[in-house]
């Protein structure tokens, strides 16, 4: 389309092979990130956010399989890259911050060991230069006493510090795209705010592309340019943040926003009935239809084509197609 | 009401189905099941299956001693002229009986002690039980079983007692670990808060969670107990001749290696067969409960 596009995920289908059968998680996910753009992906637990992000870096678990789709990074299809190219991509272009900083850091290696290993593989550097680079990244991540952190095992750090370490990893070098997969979910409220502030500040300063995956709608709203709403392996609505939040179109988005308790303390929502479908035998058509209050016959048959309801604001729902 | 029963049955069968599914997923588990079942059947029906059942008792026929495997004697005959196949089939009987006796003694005792020790972990009773159990696992079970057996007169009964004495701590440990980890689960808290008795919590809340592990361990232990029993009789501290005990058969037949290899090698294979079967089965059961 245009040169501005950094990353484009098109029609991504991903499943997991398990002993019970194949779990068809992603069904036609698409996503576009422009240079320096901050993208939010929101969705409840199990909606396939992590799966999408891992697909981008091709680090799905061994039972995961990409069945269909294309992922272009600056015009190159990641899914068709050779191993060396892929390594290059992972080393220089895209970095990822994982959901749970505790499990994302190997408990048996010191932070420094891990960072040096990563730096040395990415950039042909001397030990001391590499260390300097690592320390700088740690400092950038606002870690007090980076030397000590460098020489610590993950268990010796608090949760917030661990996540900062992960951020520091993501900041090494000049990446063009940072994927942050629920970077603050497991942190305390005040720490959450700190980490998120730091991350948004860094992203803004460096003007890199950013995919911010989160269940915390408020946090997404405050920090990104455009937002994608995901439900059960589908992107059901997307558009500029302001528009989506102030004028949600999809019944799911509407309900979801209602569900969030407000500081102002209005009447409490009743929630959405049912729960997220199981992926071994997902609902036909629109995957939200069993829980939708406006369900129609056709919802059960075909997945609705997205419709542009305002400029840049798309929604995939049959309610709007008819109109 | 009947609908309720049907529903409850339905859920139960579904659960069993799931377990069976998890179990049968691996062909190895199925092979294990087949092997274990075959040994159990052979053991139970030995007198009818064995071609020469009388060879399991006082029987000598020196005219036909040491015959190599043939159609008449598939596994050959031993130095007494007894059919090795028949004795091997009876051997399953003794091996499985040993396992059965030991495990029926050991499992309840070990489980109860383990539950108590885990539940009262901070109190002296729990500590005492664990320290005592430590003593019995401070050396490999074989070594202590051998020493105890050697101090008693050798017999299958004493071997079983000695093995049992060495074995309960493993169940105590298992239950202790399970209990101490489950003890802090909220459902135990909930039961406590409601006012359920300690016995209820131990046996109704905690124990069911250890069932899978216990069952798995029992199955695997069938193999280990048989191995231990065979080792004891191999050394000469187990079952008495002419009992067709597999370990004794191996060690007695070993004298005639390599000429009359079938006398010891078939029983040796039989031991391995039965242990293999229960090992595979045990892993299958583990899958069924965990998967």
């Amino acid at each position: 389309m245009d040169k501005d596009i950094l990353l484009e995920v098109k029609n991504l289908h991903v499943g997991y092979k398990t002993h019970i059968g194949i779990s068809h998680v992603l069904k036609g996910v698409h996503l576009t990130v422009h240079k320096g753009e901050r993208i939010g992906v929101i969705g409840e637990s199990g909606s396939g956010k992590t799966t999408t992000m891992k697909s981008i870096l091709r680090i799905l678990p061994s039972n995961g399989m990409i069945k269909e789709g294309e992922i272009f990074y600056q015009g190159e299809n990641i899914l068709e890259m050779k191993y060396e190219e892929l390594l290059e991509l992972r080393r220089k272009k895209i970095s990822m911050i994982f959901q749970d900083p505790t499990s994302a850091l190997n408990p048996l290696f010191k932070i420094g060991q891990l960072m040096l290993d990563i730096i040395k593989h990415s950039y042909n550097l001397e030990e001391s230069e590499a260390k300097e680079m690592a320390l700088k990244a740690l400092r950038d991540a606002a870690l007090p006493d980076p030397e000590r952190v460098f020489d610590s095992y993950p268990f010796q750090l608090s949760g917030g510090m661990r996540q900062r370490v992960c951020i520091a990893l993501a900041l090494i070098g000049d990446r063009e795209l940072i994927i942050a997969d629920e970077p603050t979910t497991n942190l305390d409220v005040t720490i959450k705010a700190q980490v998120l502030n730091l991350l948004t500040k860094l992203v803004r300063e460096r003007n890199v592309g950013w995919i911010f995956v989160s269940q915390a709608l408020g946090a997404v709203r405050e920090n990104v340019d455009r937002v994608y709403v995901m439900y059960a392996g589908n992107i059901i609505e997307w558009g500029p943040t302001e528009k989506v939040f102030s004028n949600p179109m999809h019944p799911y988005t509407q309900k979801l926003l209602e569900c969030v308790p407000k500081l102002t303390g209005t009447e409490f929502s009743k929630g959405i009935r049912g729960r997220i479908p199981n992926y071994f035998n997902p609902p036909s058509g629109c995957r939200f239809h069993p829980r939708c209050d406006f369900v129609m016959d056709e919802c059960k048959k075909t997945f609705p084509e997205p419709v542009e309801v305002e400029t840049g604001h798309f929604v995939a729902c049959n309610l709007y197609r008819r109109r | 009401m009947s609908r309720a029963t049907i529903l409850s049955e339905w859920w139960k069968t579904l659960e069993l189905k799931k377990k069976w599914y998890n179990f049968s997923r691996s062909p190895l588990s199925l092979i294990g099941l087949i092997i274990s079942l075959s040994t159990i059947i052979l053991a139970i029906f030995a007198p009818w299956i064995a071609p020469y059942p009388e060879h399991a008792g006082f029987y000598t026929d020196f005219e036909h001693a040491n015959l190599p495997p043939s159609w008449q004697h598939l596994f050959g005959t031993d130095e007494f002229g007894r059919d090795v196949l028949s004795r091997t089939i009876f051997g399953f009987r003794y091996s499985l009986m040993m396992a059965a006796v030991v495990l029926t003694l050991v499992v309840p005792a070990g489980v109860i002690l383990g539950l108590i020790a885990g539940y009262y972990r901070e109190r002296w009773i729990g500590k005492l039980i664990m320290r005592i159990s430590d003593i019995f696992i401070a050396v490999p079970p074989l070594v202590l079983a051998l020493s105890v057996c050697s101090l008693l007169t050798p017999s299958a009964f004493h071997a079983m007692m000695a093995v049992s004495l060495m074995w309960w701590p493993w169940y105590t440990r298992l239950l202790y670990n399970v209990t101490s980890s489950i003890k802090e689960e909220y459902f135990v808290y909930a039961a406590k808060v409601t006012g359920a008795s300690s016995a209820h919590i131990m046996f109704k809340e905690i124990f069911p969670n250890a069932m899978g592990a216990v069952l798995t361990k029992i199955t695997l232990d069938v193999g280990w107990v048989i191995l231990l029993g065979a080792s004891l009789s191999f050394v000469g501290l187990g079952a008495q001749p002419p009992t067709p005990d597999l370990g004794t058969m191996v060690s007695d037949g070993a004298k005639f290696l390599p000429d009359y290899w079938w006398i010891s090698m078939f029983p040796a294979l039989a031991i391995s067969y039965i242990i293999l079967g229960f090992n595979l089965l045990g892993d299958g059961i583990k899958d069924a409960f965990e998967g």
Binding site: S62, L105, F155, C166 | R131, V143
Partner: protein, 360 residues
């Protein structure tokens, strides 16, 4: 200049190591304190058992035709005429003087027997442990690397066989095949006939032969060790290979593996470093215990291969109801077991920084 840096580097490493070790030592100290009551309990158990169970060791010791007064004399010598607690008390006192009592089987101090036979067993077990660790690592890694693929399935089947076949069956089988039918290896003993054992320095014949400069004796001993050590190691090897495999398969799913992958660390490094180490932590525990358990299995294997070791001595004292011998065998194995346990803990603590050194 370069050398200088190296020195500093090494020095700081050592300092760090020492620091690390100090924490570990504290931990070890605790473990030792914990183990002592267990060992005392064990000794009480086996000691009492050996004295209360029916049987008259004095009569056995005196030999078949000995007159009554000789039997009485031996009874006195073994303190069997004293009350039980007194017997135990004196036994303990003797123990602290390094005396494990009089063996009615070898007719000398059990301590001498232990010193004489233990090294041979340890030496055998050492080789078996090498086989075990080497084999288990190789098989486990192959299996984990190609999880659920053909090599993995082959290894798994092999492992099941390895676990299921008792060590004494392996022993007999190897003897039958590799010593009798195809005489590649000697069938029994520690030396070929005519070889005079090297002068005893350490008690470990392998080491002693090297000290004495008898290189061919060394090779000879090694050659005699291959079959029994291998027979001994197979079961544990299979067991450990399974554990390593399970650890690797487990670790493969972990987020931290995804992380290093996401940052472009090549697969080979991931496997050899970030997956292997965490999978080894649980395996080390099992492996260590398995190595210690080899002493138990060695009972049969040493018997089959007539290895002049401690386990064969164990069998002999047991078959001859040598009460002091039996107590000593159990206790010595208990001590070795405890040491192995502690060593394992140290290794694990070394591998896994979280253990034993968690600060607030």
């Amino acid at each position: 200049m370069f050398k200088y840096i190296l020195v500093i580097n090494v020095k700081s490493k050592i300092v760090r190591c020492v620091f690390k070790m100090r924490a570990i030592w504290k931990y070890v100290g605790k473990r030792v304190l914990y183990v002592i009551p267990t060992l005392i309990g064990l000794s009480i158990f086996i000691f009492i058992l050996s004295r209360v169970l029916p049987g008259d060791p004095a009569l056995m010791a005196a030999g078949p035709n000995a007159p009554k007064w000789v039997v009485e004399q031996i009874r006195h010598q073994l303190r069997l005429d004293k009350p039980l607690w007194e017997q135990y008390y004196y036994w303990l006192v003797d123990l602290f003087h390094g005396d494990l009592g009089y063996s009615i089987y070898t007719k000398r101090s059990v301590t001498v027997d232990v010193v004489e036979y233990l090294p041979a067993s340890l030496q055998l077990i050492f080789l078996a442990a090498l086989f075990e660790i080497g084999g288990a690592l190789a098989l486990g890694i192959i299996s984990g690397r190609y999880a659920y693929k053909l090599p993995d399935n082959m290894v798994r089947v092999l492992a099941y066989i390895g676990i299921s076949v008792p060590s004494f069956v392996w022993g007999l089988l190897f003897q039958l095949i590799f010593a009798s039918l195809i005489p590649l290896f000697p069938s029994h003993g520690m030396y070929s006939y005519g070889t005079i054992s090297p002068p005893r320095v350490t008690g470990f014949s392998l080491i002693d032969s090297l000290i004495a400069g008898q290189f061919d004796t060394f090779v000879d001993i090694l050659w005699h060790m291959v079959l029994p050590a291998f027979a001994l190691s197979l079961g544990a090897m299979a067991q450990d290979a399974r554990i390593i495999r399970a650890g690797m398969v487990d670790t493969l799913q972990k987020d931290h593996v995804s992380l290093v992958r996401a940052y472009g660390i090549p697969e080979r490094t991931i496997f050899s470093k970030y997956i292997l180490k965490p999978s080894l932590v649980p395996a080390v525990t099992v492996m260590g215990m398995d190595i210690a358990s080899l002493l138990g299995n060695a009972f049969m294997v040493e018997m089959i291969f007539q290895w002049p070791g401690f386990s064969r001595y164990g069998i002999n004292v047991m078959l001859n109801k040598d009460i002091n011998g039996i107590v000593a065998v159990v206790l010595v194995i208990g001590i070795i077991f405890a040491i192995a346990n502690i060593l394992v803990d140290v290794v694990v603590a070394y591998l896994d920084p979280r253990i034993g050194r968690r600060s607030a």
